[in-house]
Amino acid sequence: MDKIILLYFLLYAGLYAQESQGEKQQLENQCLQCHMKHQIPNELIYQRYLMKYSTADGMGKAIKEYLKHPKKENSIMPLPFFLKFPMKEALVLDDENLEKNIRMFLDMYDVKKKLVLP
């Protein structure tokens, strides 16, 4: 019986890891690839959103709004940034996948995970 439970657990963990890996891959392909291409650090983007919106909800809404309707006004980057980089095109992705990707992005750089006591 113990062996069956252990086997079931390992199978579930393996499937979950595979699924998680897949979602991460999807995030990188659909969102972060462009950042890497232009050598824009993802931490910098998160840091700027964090400093302006403080909460995950606030950041998530602002990122979603920008990705769907990219404009200088709702971008987190300063105006001079667009002198060097062109305005990105609107992301063609359904809301569910977009929100999932945003949640993953926020979770990946979450401030709570980085902070430690000396």
Binding site: Q47, L50, M51, S54, T55, K114, L115, V116, L117, P118
Partner: protein, 392 residues
């Protein structure tokens, strides 16, 4: 008995005074000390709270610095000894800190702990996502305890000081009362003694007359006469002192020569009894504008003093002229240091002869009433001469 009553009433008054004085002083000082303590305590706590706010600013600066290094894999949260801190996001949700999670919406709950100081400050921009920074530290009670100790010592010192002061003030205030009671005590003792002597003389001599019939009756009668005259004089003197302020004076042209002769006859028995040699010189027709009773008291007191304080078989000199009346004796005299105060009431230069110490006080009162001048010349063991000059 009188001494015991004096002490009792004195103690009672002193205790009452001290209770009221110390009670009101203690109450006043307690209120003042409480107000001072409260204000100083708030001041000390405010000082610590200001220091905590300053620490919060420092942590905010450190969060800012930390925020700029966000690309690192781990970020070390700023920690300060003796201080706990935590950061909260815009929704007041706990992010991180050395302090355990607290519900920021319920400020009253965590601010209620008097042993811990809190400082909640807003952070903007939101470095590390922090919109709120809550900083706390244990209240340093050392200065407050020091303050309590100092105030306690001050109150104790003030209590001791005011108790001692109150004790001395109380003694000072009741001193006149004590003097009056002592004087009254002495007066009563003197009165009983003064009355006892002539009364005993009268009673003893009457008994002797009854026992021995006509045997030596002349001698016994003279003693009774002297004692009765002494009683009469005591009564006159006390009445004079008692009624002096309300006494109506009938000023008339009084022949002092006649009055003095009459009073010398009156006191001759007393003088003879003591074996005094009389040297009397009275000018005729010396008339003064004076009340008769005042003149009688003046003469009587001078003469009886000269008889009483004279030596047995001494010399009694009485001289009346247009300018003065002088009465001299060859008695015990008065010490130089007592000459200035001898005219004060109840003052007796020599207590061996009894008396109240009111004789010269009466003389002085009469002299002052009529603008006369009193001179007393005396040498111890040689004698005294009292001179009353009619005009200045």
């Amino acid at each position: 008995m009188l001494d015991i009553d004096l002490l009792k009433s004195e103690k009672k008054s002193l205790i009452r005074f001290l209770l009221i004085y110390l009670g009101s002083t203690f109450l006043l000082f307690s209120v003042a000390a409480w107000i001072f303590y409260t204000s100083q305590k708030h001041y000390l706590i405010d000082q610590q709270r200001e220091a905590l706010k300053y620490q919060a600013q420092t942590i905010t600066q450190e969060l800012r610095t930390l925020h700029t290094t966000y690309d690192k894999s781990t970020l070390i949260y700023p920690v300060h000894p003796l201080i706990d801190s935590a950061i909260y996001d815009l929704d007041k949700q706990y992010i991180f800190g050395t302090q355990k999670e607290t519900n920021l919406l319920d400020e009253k709950y965590y601010m209620a702990d008097e042993n811990i100081l809190y400082s909640l400050s807003q952070v903007e921009p939101y470095y590390m996502g922090a919109a709120y920074l809550l900083v706390s530290k244990n209240l340093d009670k050392e200065p407050i305890l020091e303050l309590q100790k100092n105030i306690g010592l001050f109150l104790l010192g003030a209590g001791v000081f005011f108790t001692i002061l109150g004790w001395f003030l109380g003694r000072l205030f009741i001193a006149p009362m004590r003097d009056s009671m002592e004087r009254m005590n002495l007066f009563i003792q003197d009165t009983t003694h003064e009355l006892n002597t002539p009364i005993s003389t009268i009673l003893t001599n009457i008994e002797m007359l009854e026992t021995f019939g006509k045997c030596e009756e002349n001698k016994e009668l003279k003693r009774i006469e002297i004692a009765s005259k002494s009683l009469s004089r005591i009564y006159d003197d006390l009445t004079y002192l008692n009624l002096n302020h309300n006494y109506y004076r009938h000023i008339e042209s009084l022949d002092m020569s006649d009055l003095l002769r009459e009073r010398m006859v009156y006191f001759s028995t007393m003088a003879e009894h003591k074996g005094l040699i009389l040297e009397i010189s009275i000018d005729t027709d010396i008339v003064l504008e004076i009340d008769k009773n005042d003149a009688t008291r003046l003469v009587d007191n001078l003469v009886t003093n000269a008889i009483k304080y004279n030596k047995p078989k001494g010399l009694l000199k009485v001289n009346l002229t247009k300018a003065f009346l002088s009465v001299g004796d060859t008695g015990i005299g008065i010490q130089k240091k007592d000459l200035d105060s001898i005219v004060c009431r109840f003052k007796r230069a020599n207590k061996s002869e009894g008396g109240f110490g009111i004789g010269l006080d009466i003389v002085n009162q009469v002299v002052n009433s009529y603008g006369f001048v009193l001179n007393i010349n005396s040498e111890p063991d040689k004698g005294t001469e009292v001179v009353v000059k009619w005009t200045k």
